[in-house]
């Protein structure tokens, strides 16, 4: 059951990812990205990361995607103009990419014998309770310092976007 779910949603993620790159219109690409984010959330859930799965749905598939679509609408972005490709890109791109993925997969397969591979549903401790405990005990300092990071980003947005001084 788990592996069927995995194959289905991994397949959806890859297809949506491909569609994201191939689509000409930014809105179609953005909607494909929702598909990628959503199916990734299901994969996280299969691995036992309940909290991460929910965060993925709310933050990425929800908030960030709304922002994306909003900006695309606001800028009124049209269809992407097709650039003229070089010959070797047209004919060499796909085989080279396939070769690259093949080599990567081979290396990964060789370095991780199958006994070490992930067992779906074996991982416990991805719930909100465990994550919260980690976050406020071991990782409390990074958690707090991240607020400085966000503050700097906010100041930056204000500095760069505020009204003319003169």
């Amino acid at each position: 059951m788990d592996s069927i779910l995995f194959i289905v949603f991994a397949g959806i993620a890859v297809l949506c990812g491909l569609n994201l790159v191939l689509q000409k219109h930014p809105i179609s690409s953005a909607l494909s990205l929702v598909g990628v984010m959503g199916s990734l959330a299901v994969l996280y859930l299969l691995l036992g990361g309940e909290f991460i799965a929910m965060a993925q749905l709310i933050v990425y598939a929800g908030a960030i995607m709304v922002l994306f679509v909003f900006v695309i609408m606001l800028l009124n972005a049209g269809t992407e103009p097709v650039s003229k490709r070089r010959l070797w890109v047209t004919y060499g791109g796909v085989p080279l990419m396939a070769a690259g993925i093949g080599i990567g997969a081979y290396v990964l397969q060789r370095s991780f014998p199958s006994t070490e591979s992930v067992k779906l549903g074996a991982f416990q401790g991805g719930g909100a309770y465990e994550i919260g405990k980690k976050l406020f005990e071991t990782y409390v300092l990074p958690f707090e310092i991240t607020s400085v990071l966000i503050l700097v980003a906010i100041i930056g947005a204000i500095v760069l976007a505020s009204k003319e001084v003169n």
């Binding site: 005990e137 300092l141 990074p142 991240t146 500095v159």
Partner: protein, 484 residues
């Protein structure tokens, strides 16, 4: 109640500098909103007071060494050295920027707040004992730098610098984060000491995976230290950014980035040094060559100093390649000497560039020795230190670096590095020749430098000379604090 939930007072004491800096920066933001325009002169003194307090706290924290917050931070001599260095650079940046901002009619508390936050991030980097802390510190420092580079919003050059820096920087950070994720996925830890323990275990993690992760992380670090082949952003950013900011960016964030590079590679990745030392060897050589040979062709002084700063990153990489305690100490000393020297050079450029930075060509320095002999003399000290002439900090810096390289049997790298510094002498001397031998061209009068800028220039010059004449104090500290 679980006692581990509450940090001890000693742990708070160890991050006191970061806390002071954050509070003062926030205070400045608060005052910015409530103060009237004529009262805004207080920001620079407040920022300086905050930096001074942080400096004292950083030195005091050295007396209470150890880890803090579940091993997230480690306060040791190495961390203290870099904390003091980046805070000192922050102070110089505040001095040099006050007049610049007034001249460009662009006052504002945000600038000082961003400098303080940037220094906070660099302090976090200096003390980080965890890949997560390294990442967050690096991001705080980087995001603040992106904004500082584009601070004069209405200037097209500033916009270009900020946008390029931001896009390329985010791209490089992604590589770093990817490497961190690999390491975490494979060793189950982000703690540097724990990673080292795992890598030392016989039959432990495969070198292929950890080596790839280390290489991915190196891409991120190499970008921040502007090492070849990830140096392309540096000239555009340093040329486009406001001159005092260029000076700050070329030393502060760079020193902190070297701190995390040294700490990560000399502690966590020490067991796989056979894999990364050859990579560093090539990178160090390429960085020196690219920096020096490109600098020869520059006519814009900011661009020239940018390429020269790339070359200097190459020299420090030679020390990192040495992969030894002496190498680590040499890198620390060199970064200190380079920080004051390079910042001083940019401070003089700030002065000569005048309003709107219209005079940044090498020719614009013609006759500076007649018009303002004191400034010309200071720039001479900085350039001689960049060349590596005795009695300046740059000489001992280079001396210790190449000594460390020879001790680690890097004979060819040493020879090629020395040849590179000979090439570098050419373009530095060219500025000296223009300054002393050429008659001034009739152009806009150069008003005398204001007191704050003078403090920045003379302060940097004094530090450069002190490091050149009495290097032993700093070197002793660096040798004791060097990572093993």
């Amino acid at each position: 109640m679980d006692s581990s939930l509450f940090p001890t007072s000693a742990e708070y004491f160890r991050i006191l500098p970061e806390m002071i800096l954050t509070v003062v920066a926030t205070l400045i933001m608060f005052l910015e909103a409530i103060l009237k325009d004529w009262q805004k002169r207080v920001f620079a003194p407040i920022a300086l007071a905050g930096l001074t307090a942080a400096l004292v706290a950083a030195i005091a924290a050295n007396g209470s060494q150890g880890t803090a917050f579940h091993d997230m931070l480690v306060i040791d001599g190495f961390a203290t050295f870099f904390r003091v260095l980046v805070i000192a650079v922050g102070m110089l940046a505040v001095f040099a920027s006050t007049e610049y901002l007034k001249r460009e009619a662009h006052p504002g508390g945000e600038f000082y707040a961003l400098v303080l936050f940037c220094v906070t991030g660099q302090c976090v980097m200096a003390t980080a004992n965890e890949l997560i802390m390294i990442f967050i510190g690096l991001e705080i420092s980087s995001i603040a730098s992106y904004i500082l580079a584009g601070y004069l919003r209405d200037d097209a050059r500033n916009n270009e610098a900020a946008l390029k820096y931001f896009l390329l920087g985010s791209f490089a950070t992604a590589f770093l984060l990817f490497g961190v994720a690999w390491i975490y996925g494979y060793t189950g830890s982000t703690n540097l000491m724990e990673i080292r323990r795992q890598l030392e275990t016989p039959g432990g993690p495969s070198v292929l995976i950890t080596g790839t992760a280390a290489a991915l992380m190196f891409v991120g670090f190499a970008f921040k230290i502007s090492a070849a082949p990830f140096q392309v952003w540096a000239p555009d950013v340093y040329q486009g950014a406001p001159a005092p900011v260029s000076g700050f960016l070329s030393v502060g964030p760079k020193a902190a980035a070297f701190a995390i590079l040294l700490r990560t590679y000399l502690t966590a990745f020490a067991p796989i040094s056979r894999q990364w030392v050859p990579v560093l060897w090539i990178c160090a050589l390429a960085t020196m060559i690219v920096g020096n040979f490109a600098a020869i062709q520059q006519s814009n002084i900011k661009r020239l100093l940018a390429y020269s700063s790339i070359a200097h990153a190459g020299y420090v990489l030679v020390a990192v390649t040495a992969n030894s305690e002496i190498g680590s100490a040499a890198a620390m000393f060199y970064l200190a000497a380079y920080a004051f020297t390079n910042f001083g050079a940019f401070a003089v450029v700030t002065h000569v560039a005048r309003k709107g930075e219209r005079y940044t060509k090498v020719e614009d320095f013609a006759g500076l020795a007649q018009k303002q002999p004191a400034m010309a003399a200071m720039l001479t000290i900085f350039l001689l230190s960049l060349i590596g002439v005795p009695l300046t900090g740059g000489f001992f810096g280079k001396f210790y670096i190449f000594k460390a390289a020879l001790d680690s049997h890097l004979v060819w790298l040493t020879v090629l590095g020395l040849l590179n510094s000979a090439v570098a002498a050419y373009y530095y001397l060219r500025i000296l020749v223009v300054m002393y031998m050429k008659d001034p061209e009739p152009s806009e009068a150069l008003p005398p430098a204001g007191p704050a800028l003078q403090i920045a220039v003379y302060g940097s010059a004094i530090a450069t000379l002190v490091l050149g004449i009495f290097p032993s104090f700093v070197l002793d500290f660096a040798s004791k604090a060097a990572l093993k």
